[in-house]
Amino acid sequence: MNRHVQRLQQAYRELPWRRQARRVLWALAAMVAVAAVLALEVHFSAQALVLNYELHARQQAVLDTQQQIVVLQTRLAQLTSVDHLLRVAEREGYHPLSVEQEHFVPVPPDVLPQEAVALPQARPLPPSRPPLPEAYTISLVRWLERYLLLEPAQ
């Protein structure tokens, strides 16, 4: 009886369609593995390309803005240049003050108005990058331990 069972088992194990199916499954598994890796790569690359496109566009906008600011600052400085202001002032009837025209009045130091210096309000600086959720920082063992013990997440 046992011998017949063994023969049947052996025969079943070595059925051609089973051997063929095994080979096909291995091949499919290998392809799925390769495809999974490649899918990860394609997915990442596609997203990275989109983000890079955004970054490039914004960086160019920043650069253009920086350049425009510099050009405008320069034009403003040209308008307020010393020579220009002097010409305008002289045209309006003003003239530079000479030292003989200045009058200094000695004032005791205790009567001098004290300059009040307002300090800026101290504000906590925003973190340079958002903190990662704890799930991304704890070890797998610790997470498993918590999961099995059903500890509430902290």
């Binding site: 025969a11 070595e14 059925l15 051609p16 369609w17 051997r19 063929q20 096909v24 091949a27 499919l28 392809m31 799925v32 390769v34 495809a35 490649l38 899918a39 990860l40 790569e41 394609v42 990442f44 690359s45 596609a46 990275a48 390309l49 989109v50 983000l51 890079n52 496109y53 970054l55 490039h56 566009a57 960086q59 650069l63 920086q66 350049q67 510099v70 050009v71 600052q73 320069t74 034009r75 403003l76 400085a77 040209q78 307020t80 240049s81 010393v82 020579d83 002097l86 530079p96 003050l97 000479s98 030292v99 003989e100 200045e102 200094f104 000695p106 005791p108 130091p109």
Partner: protein, 613 residues
């Protein structure tokens, strides 16, 4: 019996007695299709990573793995935050010769020359010769303004040429415009010698601050890297290149600078001098408030810069030109002797009008003798014989040259301006040194210095004996952080007592001679200098001099050192006549602009602040 099957797959196993052949091929086809689809997916994914689609996507995203980001050159401000050097929009204009028929050249050269302010004939010659050589395109200008570009583009109606095919070629068809930022100086010629300039093509700074801080102002091109694959280089934040351009805040005060430049121009006009240089500095820190000169170019006119450099071989006279300072150098000799305790203010020198050293006889400026003179009298009458005696007989060559080295003569001061020269002098041990050099150097001949070296030496006497490094940088700002100027080092060259004594001697000598440098209400100290100029083949000639004055105010608590140098004045050869009044006028201008109270007011304030018994 065994039957052999030619199929590569063992689809049939007759031993098992199952799987007939008809069912096997259908199965094989099904499996083949599944496998083919799988392979297709994998191949497609691989192609997406390395194929032309990948290149197209990367190109769409703006470039390859890394990109360089061009950054505007750093700005330069004066001490109050007024912009001295910025940028303006400009266009490089290229003419495509290949598309331009030769018949149109005269009209094109005319229109371009009129609009862009160029030499029409030179432009026409360049077009013809480049066309003959088969050059594809020629650079017309690289500084066209936006307005000039608009004018050129508006000439669309001017038809220049009709091709045999009947196509009309206009000016805008053959011109290429490339936008760029070029350096622009909103103050024009103000502080031109301090700022320097930037070459349009190379972007390299030349002269002044632009040259000295070129690397800081350029900042380097930022290099940014982004990841395109999980394992590619770079990180999510990108990577930066060397550093961003720095904004520089100078110690120069633009109004004081403009006033000093106006005074320099006035001095040249009144004295018919070849040039004038005026430096105003804080003696305690070495901060330069004004470094003025006349003539100087307008930095927005490249041709004017070239012409200036061709004529003068220097952009900034205060650091790039050396000359024999003459009697202003006597303050260095006397300060050295006082510090070494070789003489005191009351030490008497009997002047007979000459002083002899081996191979040379020193004469006074008036070829006369002045009898018994104290050291104050020697400075007051600017006696060459007395200072030669002090150096040769009282100080000795070892100590004299040790003091020259300590004061920094013969090497650059370290001022942060491009092109600084070191000056030179002969010293014991050098091949051409003689006692004649030694005696002459004591009163400022046979030694070449820059005005900046004299400013540094005078500052040391004014500030209590410390040699400070002159500088124009107040602080640099990079990424919103300010980094103050850090001096390369300060060292004591005179004792505080010797410096104080010198200040008193110089104030007394000016008062004693009723100098034109005196200013009502303000105590000043200083020294004139009239140096004859050596001409090749003729030696020292008497009709050409360098007239200078170095001094400070207030005399006892110096706040400002002022240096004046007039080159070859024609109305008078004497510094006391041409340079001293310029110093006095500068004192008045500085006092007015900086709101320095007169001595009487300062004394009243000092008395009121004294503790009451």
């Amino acid at each position: 019996m065994t039957r052999h099957v030619s199929s590569p797959l063992p689809l049939v196993n007759e031993d098992a007695g199952v799987a007939p052949l008809a069912a096997g091929w259908r199965y094989a086809v099904a499996v083949g299709v599944v496998l083919a689809l799988g392979v297709l997916v994998v191949v497609r994914m691989v192609m997406l990573q390395i194929g032309p689609e990948r290149a197209a996507l990367v190109s769409m995203a703006g470039g390859d793995y890394a990109e360089t980001v061009p950054l505007p050159r750093g700005l330069i401000y004066d001490r109050d935050g007024h912009l001295l050097a910025g940028d303006r929009e400009a266009y490089e204009v290229d003419l495509r010769l290949g598309k331009t028929p030769g018949e149109a050249f005269p009209q094109i050269a005319h229109d371009l020359a009129v609009t862009l302010g160029l030499d029409e004939e030179a432009l026409l010659r360049a077009l013809v010769s480049n066309k003959a050589r088969g050059v594809a395109a020629v650079l017309v200008t690289n500084r066209a303004t936006p307005r000039q570009r608009e004018v050129l583009l508006a000439q669309e109606e001017n038809w220049y040429y009709t091709t045999p095919e009947g196509k009309k070629v206009t000016l805008s068809d053959v011109l290429d415009f490339h936008r760029r930022l070029v350096r622009f100086y909103p103050e024009g010629g103000i502080a031109a010698n301090v700022l320097g300039f930037v070459a349009v093509g190379s972007g390299q700074g030349y002269g002044g601050v632009e040259q000295y801080y070129d690397a800081l102002l350029k900042g380097g091109v930022a290099w940014v890297s982004y990841p395109y694959a999980p394992w590619s280089e770079g990180d999510a934040q990108g990577r930066r290149g060397p550093r961003k351009p720095a904004a520089l805040y100078l110690t120069i005060d633009r109004v004081l600078q403009q006033q000093a430049e106006a005074e320099a121009a006035r001095a040249v006009e009144q004295t018919k001098a070849d040039s004038a240089t005026i430096v105003v500095a804080d003696p305690y820190t070495g901060a330069l408030l004004a470094v003025a000169q006349y003539p100087r170019p307008n930095l927005n006119n490249y041709d004017a810069i070239q012409a200036h450099l061709k004529a003068w071989k220097a952009l900034d006279f205060a650091v790039e030109r050396v000359y024999e300072p003459g009697s202003v150098f006597k303050i260095v000799t006397m300060a050295s002797a006082v510090d070494a305790q070789a003489v005191r203010p009351t030490t008497v020198f009997h002047d007979v009008g000459t002083f002899s050293v081996p191979g040379h006889t020193v004469w006074n400026w008036n070829r006369g003798g002045w009898g018994d003179q104290t050291m104050v009298g020697c400075l007051q009458h600017s006696l060459n014989t007395c200072l030669a005696w002090v150096a040769v007989d009282k100080l000795g060559k070892e100590r004299f040259y040790a003091y020259l080295r300590a004061f920094g003569f013969g090497r650059p001061t370290g001022v942060d301006l491009g092109g600084e020269r070191s000056g030179r002098y002969s010293y014991p041990g050098a091949s051409m040194w003689s006692y004649s050099d030694f005696a002459s150097q004591a009163f400022g001949q046979a030694i070449a210095v820059t005005p900046m070296q004299m400013v540094a030496a005078a500052s040391a006497i004014a500030n209590g004996g410390y040699l400070v490094t002159p500088h124009v940088l107040q602080y640099e700002v990079v990424d919103g952080r300010a980094y103050p100027y850090r001096s390369s080092g300060t060292r004591q060259v005179l004792s505080a007592e010797a410096a104080r004594t010198m200040r008193q001697m110089l104030a007394a000598s000016l008062k004693g001679e009723s100098s034109a440098a005196l200013v009502e209400g303000y105590s000043v100290a200083g020294k004139t200098g009239t140096a004859e100029i050596a001409v090749q083949g003729q030696g020292y000639v008497t009709n050409m001099t360098n007239a200078s004055f170095v001094g400070w105010f207030p005399a006892e608590k110096p706040a400002y050192v002022i240096y004046v140098w007039l080159e070859k004045p024609k109305t008078s050869r004497w510094a006391s006549i041409v340079a001293a009044p310029v110093f006095a006028r500068m004192v008045k201008r500085v006092a007015a602009l900086e709101h320095v109270p007169p001595d009487k007011v300062r004394e009243q304030v000092a008395i009121s602040q004294e503790p009451q018994p």
